[in-house]
């Protein structure tokens, strides 16, 4: 240990300060010469924390973390504007954002040859492009389902009919037209005898719900939803995993993932690898590392989305997302995502003209 005299410490501090300032001015901090640098877009909060821990467990790649700025759709115009020279090596997303990127043909097809750990991921869930090739690498699944705060909800919700209970006046937080792929609307359709191809029964039920006055807030962003529940403004919601987990951290939440009559939807979160980037091999290697069994478990632990790698362990806190084959058949509904995603625009406009005026 060198002497910790005041002069030494000040000199050291000045040196560090100088390097940081210079590094900052140049727009990037120095990276170790050995590792390849890639730029990745991830969600903030627990997700990027998990990914940083995963990065620390390997040394081939150093990642410049860029955060999603307000929803996974905000990055899309930037990629489009700079195409064919994107700035990012991979973008994390889910079905909602993968769809657009696949249609625009921005993604590198993946396979078991380039990403070996894909062999341990259930193939059914992998998003495919127009040619039938695998287009994105899934890493975890989350749920979209109904849940309520046990301590403040006046009703123990057991079916979608309970949402119309007059005791729930102003107590429901329902997702708005661009949230959760509008799957809660599909849930209403299923309840009324329709499905994602025949949505009219669902719209009729949604109108009734809007008119009932039970909806306190329409969630327009992710944080909208969790804040509404934590502040006590509403008590019941139909939303996606990360928000419900956030609420569950501080309040007793009943998650209706295994409730007869209440459909649960599963979505994937994963990696979309962009074309025309210089470090494709390094990116593929890093992505492969991320979906290994150990890293999948680590991700599940920290980020709160259930692992997809069949060899990974699902933590206790996510048991509501692990289904036996019978449970999967009974409670989980797999919509035709192609239909759902291509209808988002039409459903949004229909919401604005038919539902919004009733709220």
């Amino acid at each position: 240990m060198t002497q910790l005299t005041r002069r030494h410490t000040l000199k050291g501090a000045a040196a560090i300060g100088a390097v940081t300032i210079i590094g900052d001015t140049l727009g990037s901090t120095r990276r170790a010469a050995a590792a390849t640098e890639i730029t990745a877009v991830e969600w903030g909060g627990d997700v990027v924390n998990a990914m940083k821990q995963i990065e620390a467990k390997q040394n081939q790649v150093k990642v410049n973390w860029v955060l999603h700025q307000g929803g996974s759709g905000a990055i899309l115009p930037k990629i489009k504007a700079s195409w064919p020279h994107p700035e990012y090596d991979y973008v994390s997303g889910w079905e909602g954002s993968f769809n657009g990127m696949v249609k625009e043909d921005w993604l590198v097809p993946v396979s078991v040859e380039t990403v070996p750990n894909l062999a341990d991921i259930p193939q059914k869930i992998i998003v495919k492009n127009a040619k039938g090739e695998w287009a994105a690498v899934p890493r975890a699944i989350g749920g979209i389902y109904c849940a309520y705060r046990k301590d403040t909800s006046p009703v123990e919700v057991k079916s979608l009919d309970d949402l119309f209970d007059t005791r729930l006046k102003g107590k429901i937080c329902w997702p708005g037209p661009t949230q959760a792929m509008m799957l809660p609307l599909v849930a209403l359709a299923l309840h009324a005898g329709g499905n994602e191809h025949n949505m009219d029964p669902g719209w009729a039920l949604m109108k009734k719900l809007a008119q009932s006055g039970n909806i306190g807030r329409i969630g327009v962003t992710d944080t909208d939803f969790s804040t509404s529940l934590t502040s006590g403004e509403t008590s019941v919601g139909f939303y996606s995993e990360p928000q419900l987990t956030a609420v569950a951290k501080s309040f007793p939440v009943v998650r209706l993932t295994k409730q007869a009559g209440m459909p649960t939807f599963l979505y994937q979160s994963g990696f979309a690898i962009l074309k025309n980037r210089p470090n494709l091999t390094a990116t593929l290697a890093f992505v492969n590392h991320c979906i290994s069994p150990e890293m999948s478990s680590l991700y599940a632990q920290v980020a709160g989305e259930a692992p997809l790698n069949v060899k990974a362990k699902t933590p206790e806190a996510l048991k509501h997302l692990s289904f036996t084959p019978e449970e999967m058949n009974k409670y989980v509904y797999f919509p035709d995502f192609n239909e759902v995603l291509s209808q988002q625009d039409a459903w949004t406009k229909r919401w604005e003209s038919e539902i919004a005026p009733l709220l």
């Binding site: 929803g71 115009p77 769809n99 661009t178 306190g216 327009v220 995603l341 291509s342 038919e354 919004a356």
Partner: protein, 286 residues
């Protein structure tokens, strides 16, 4: 005003930097947006495809009563907030300019300036926490018979949120104007027998017309393009035009439709701004 003096020659040159900035950073990009609004959007894509055909569909689908309703609601609440803001800001600015000692005035101005640095997102959430449905005001509201989750209260809250941003801005703007109004004119009017309120109405207000217009236009344009305030306080139920536009700039990625709505808003609002300015200009000419 100087008439026909050689000084006028310098002024067109002064307009050049402004013209360059506006052309390069606003009107040309807006032209690009205008072009995008005529492109066809294929659901599932990100924006319009590179060679998408031109179409009027993005505009024709706005010809619905519900869209007109959103427009009117945005205009209505914005107008309410702007006029109320002026009503509050003018006495406040007057008091600041004429009745406070320089020391206190500096403090008051300091307060308003500090207020402008309070993030819009945080202050809106703060208002929601205090005045909203889950706030400490809830029992009082219910006692008085106002349902805090009802639409009327939410609209009021959105206007209140807008006001919170408008009042400091308008006060500071009006301060600048009032300081340039001769207080002796007011004294003279009172000496001639006019009561205070009449003197203000006929002397002070007309002389501040330029400043009042500026304050109104700031407030109105801020309100109609407001996004965060209606999003949080409107609970997703009171929707402003910018919230509709935001829906189209999300993963739905229907940029042509978003562009179309923006162009319509731009045209309507610009007309209102122009007409209002013109009317006031005419009214204040001797």
């Amino acid at each position: 005003m100087p008439q026909g003096r050689p000084v006028k020659r310098a002024y067109p040159a002064l307009l050049l930097p402004g013209a360059a900035v506006y052309l390069g950073f606003f009107f040309l990009p807006l032209a690009g947006l205008f072009r995008e609004s005529f492109r066809q959007f294929t659901p599932g894509g990100v924006g319009s495809a590179a060679n998408a055909p031109f179409t009027l569909a993005n505009y024709s689908e706005l010809l619905t009563p519900s869209f007109a309703e959103f427009f009117l609601e945005t205009m209505r609440i914005s107008l309410l907030a702007s006029l109320t803001g002026l009503l509050f800001a003018f006495p406040l600015a007057y008091w600041l300019a004429r009745r406070l000692s320089p020391g206190w005035r500096a403090t008051a101005v300091g307060f308003f300036v500090t207020l402008m640095f309070l993030s819009v997102l945080v202050r809106t959430y703060a208002l929601e926490l205090t005045l909203g449905a889950a706030g400490p005001l809830r029992p009082i509201l219910l006692g008085v018979g106002i349902f805090p989750n009802g639409r009327g209260y939410i609209e009021l809250l959105v206007a209140g949120g807008l006001l919170h941003y408008i009042v400091p801005m308008a006060t500071l703007t009006l301060l600048a104007t009032i300081q340039n109004v001769d207080p002796r004119l007011f004294d003279a009017a009172q000496n001639l027998g006019a009561p205070g309120w009449k003197a203000h109405l006929t002397i002070t207000l007309p002389l501040c017309a330029r400043g009042l217009l500026a304050a109104f236009l700031f407030s109105f344009t801020f309100s109609i393009s407001a996004f965060v305030i209606p999003m949080i306080l409107g609970k997703g139920r009171v929707l402003f035009i910018s919230n509709l536009i935001y829906n189209r700039f999300s993963e739905v990625a229907d940029y042509p439709s978003g562009a179309a709505i923006s162009i319509v808003l731009f045209a309507v609002a610009l007309t209102i701004v122009y007409v209002t300015s013109r009317q006031l200009h005419r009214r204040s000419m001797p």
